[in-house]
Symmetry: C2
Subunit: 539 residues, 2 copies
């Protein structure tokens, strides 16, 4: 067979050649914009030419700090196809972490949305490798900024060569993208995606038994493009000629419902928090959702109630899935098997509430304390994953050896698997809190609290939350001398400058002692129960 | 990303783990047999163990001479997954060609169906590398045979280790299969399939916009498993947990219709000749075909009439596709684009009668006399293909350089491409005749005729045929001295011992002169018209 490499250039070229009329609907600060794939493909070449002229060379990283819109989509292809590496900066990180990851990735150029400028300006003094900033603005002129040197995205494109040609000698194992993921403690860890990994993952998204993404779809990725490549949806969509609807910054559930209705969206993807919001909107408003064939949900486990409400109340099929930044992300998806369709509604719901069955192309094993667990839906073990779109390391990070051992990614997620191979996430070995689809590190918060002079011990646990899935609550044991003196407010004030706003715990409870394991580790499970009782008691 | 190889072992393992209850329905000489994937997977391991015990080692070829049934399916996985190479011998070739390809591939072991034994016995004296014959019989005892040494498939399996483990160190570029394809002249040419190529092609078959093969399907490959791997359908089906219905030897249109009805087949694949036969059966009989979601048609262009009859008269969606042995085979498939669904019936039919749009993962270019042709549906050029499931050479064959140049496969097929990217096959640069989905070489027949002492010149052309798509008709210019003396019958008798029965021309016409091009080549196009007039005149 020919040794043609699996590289991403074929994707954008296919969109241009075979689907030039298909549309990308892009919402930005100034409203809705419509571009055809013919236009997107030309603009993508112009962007690659612009970046080349700015001195970006093969293998160098170009960062984006941007919402889901057409310019970000252009960066998604221009950067990898020119042989550089697309680093989607997670703008929900703290400025300290953002500075860290841009420096760690050694980003040479940054593309930034106007509303994210203030955040980037705070980071800029720390940045060591950035040679140019490109502002992705709708306005004719650049906004005021302390960044330098700055360029205007549209002006660069206007001056660029529309006939730019992507290099043809890209190796399929060359890096194409990277994304940092929050760690239990310390700085975020970088995951590098190869062309090969992205191409194979994109194929997997198009499989009839997976998300079945198709030219006939109109896809709305709500999941941010700075978050595991918006689950790879933009890549597959462009390759297959799927219409895209990109919701831009600061959307509300109402806006999403309107976009779905107006654009006749067929498939959308996001975290449970988003669907909870949409559900409320659908329950209260009056929308035509009949175009929707599927709501893809990942990032956290969706409660059964949401799934039931979507499927039974609103007749919208719900597709539960599981993945992580390290896995591109799709690993399992809850497509029912043919004979499971005959189960009664309650049994089907039970299955749909699981994360699903392994997609073709990957391998999993679930390792309990005595080796691989039984396929009985009860025995718990850590999910380990192997395959061509699974990361093999954290980028230049010694924490690689914690997670990547014996050729497997050890996810830290504790799961069961039933006799039909349906995986269900039950817990995490790491103690991260997942709020609105984003990780909050309990250990980081604990360490910060314990750095306060009045604090003896502190543990932070997750409490279920209707809107955000989970929110952190801190349990603090004060030093004897401080008991009854140090206040909650004092500790909140102490935390606030150190963390993003949404990391700050919902509550701080003063307790007498933190339950511990025999080896002195916090017994989080016991504490969680205790805190939940307390929260419930308080109402 | 991890460097996990794209190898076939994952396919059969996925079927066993995730779809153990799904069925393979297999028709053999003794009737219908039903096996679960759990059983098939164990039998496949046993076969791999048996072949290992017979001395088959990594990289060695094992041939099959077999119809579509469960044992052939087991060989499809046992042989590649043990690291050997599955050589599916095309039993429709002449005994001379069969001997040639078995010797050329250096098959070490042959698996053969009982009814194919007489053919193989004729070839056996010529075979230089075969160390063992395994007969795939339903009977308890082996049939009488001159082959030696012979083994009983079921007895070997009964004695084999069900816990056999496939090697884990297979390279994704290692050969997994091979298939010989008829040449314009001379011996058949071998195509070698790699694990990587088969894995990627199998994914392509599962894409929503391609054949969308799914666990929910019940797939009936009518196309023989000795013909371009039954278009890859068995590989994808096993990987995705699709139920398979394998029709065995000597089926009739009636039997196919009954199988589809009884087994609730959802998708089937074959050449136009098969569908013509089925159509006649459906028109005359009374069958419930409501389970069918698609009839995949390739190998030759299907006449519009067939497509219309299937879609309009029988409400069975027809999926036209194009590929060849060298391309695994899927290259283009006539899935309509979303906005084309709104065209009127006649326009849709026009599109469906084209071979379709390129599947994701491949590249094509269409080269006319002045470079790449316009996308206007009119300008003609040779279809050239590139991609990871396209052959890069003919196995140990100097004819490689005719077809593989500058990194592209030059197909010899003349096509047009319209503004939407729909490819339509219009002619062949090679002068093969395609009868019932199989090639007949006009040049070989011509050379044979011209070897007759009475013949001055001979040209063989294709004439359209209702059942077989095309049949050969020979045009012979006799030497002056033989005019009016040598008879048709004499020439038929001369040809018959040299060719398979179905290669023998339907007619031999004596003509005065063969029209030629300026450089003295036969002007086949003109001759074809002339012959068609003649055939029509005769009725």
């Amino acid at each position: 067979m020919m040794q043609t490499p699996l590289t991403m250039t074929q994707m954008i070229e296919r969109a241009e050649k075979y689907f030039p009329k298909k549309q990308v609907v892009s919402r930005t600060a100034s409203g809705i914009h419509r571009f055809t794939y013919k236009q997107i493909a030309e603009r993508t070449r112009r962007l690659a030419d612009s970046l080349t002229k700015l001195g970006v060379t093969k293998g160098e990283r170009v960062g984006t700090l941007a919402w889901n819109h057409h310019r970000h989509l252009e960066a998604y292809f221009a950067i990898p196809c020119m042989g550089a590496v697309l680093h989607t900066v997670n703008i929900r990180l703290t400025p300290q972490h953002i500075s860290y990851i841009i420096n760690h990735a050694e980003d040479k150029v940054l593309l930034v949305d106007p509303d994210i400028l203030p955040l980037l300006e705070r980071c800029a003094p720390e940045l060591k490798t950035v040679k140019a900033y490109i502002i992705m603005t709708d306005e004719k002129e650049l906004p005021e900024t302390t960044l330098s040197p700055v360029y205007h995205y549209e002006k660069l494109l206007a001056e660029a060569n529309p006939e730019y040609r992507y290099p043809e000698d890209i190796d399929e194992n060359a890096p194409a993208g990277m994304c940092y993921t929050s760690a239990t403690t310390g700085n975020p860890k970088g995951v590098v995606y190869s062309h090969r990994g992205i191409v194979l993952h994109s194929m997997a998204l198009g499989l009839a038994d997976s998300a079945a993404l198709s030219e006939k779809d109109i896809a709305l990725p709500v999941v941010p493009m700075f978050h595991a490549n918006a689950w790879g949806m933009p890549f597959s969509a462009v390759w297959f000629g799927t219409s895209l609807v990109l919701p831009g910054p600061y959307f509300t559930p109402k806006l999403l419902a309107e976009l779905i209705e107006q654009e006749r969206v067929t498939v959308t993807a996001g975290v449970p928090t988003i669907w909870l919001g949409l559900l409320k909107e659908l329950d209260e408003g009056s929308y035509d959702m009949s175009s929707l064939r599927g709501v893809l949900c990942g990032g956290s486990a969706a409660p059964k109630g949401i799934i039931k409400a979507f499927e039974q109340r609103h007749k919208i099929p719900f597709m539960h899935a599981y993945g992580m930044t390290e896995t591109s992300p799709l690993v399992v998806i809850s497509t029912l098997k043919s004979y499971q369709e005959e189960l009664d509604a309650e049994e089907r719901l039970e299955l749909r509430a699981k994360q699903g069955v392994l997609v073709p192309g990957l391998e999993i094993k679930i390792v309990g304390k005595d080796g691989e667990v039984a396929w009985d839906g009860a025995e718990m073990g850590e999910l380990c994953i192997r395959g061509p779109w699974i990361a093999s390391e954290y980028y230049k990070d010694e924490r690689t050896e914690e997670a990547f051992r014996d050729g497997w990614l050890h996810t830290g997620d504790v799961v069961t698997i039933d006799e039909e191979g349906f995986v269900k996430i039950v817990d995490r070995t790491k103690d991260l809190i997942k709020s609105g689809g984003e990780w909050i590190s309990s250990v980081d918060l604990e360490n910060a609290l314990m750095a306060h002079e009045a604090v003896f011990e502190a543990a932070v646990v997750a409490v279920p939350h209707e809107q955000w899935q989970e929110r952190p609550v801190a349990c603090v044991v004060l030093k004897e001398a401080n008991k009854g003196k140090t206040t909650k407010e004092e500790l909140f004030d102490f935390l606030k400058p150190q963390f993003a706003k949404w990391w700050i715990p919902d509550d701080i409870l003063f307790i007498e002692e933190i339950p511990k394991t025999s080896v002195g580790k916090f017994l989080k499970m016991a504490l969680r129960d205790q805190v939940q009782q307390e929260v419930l008691r308080k109402g």
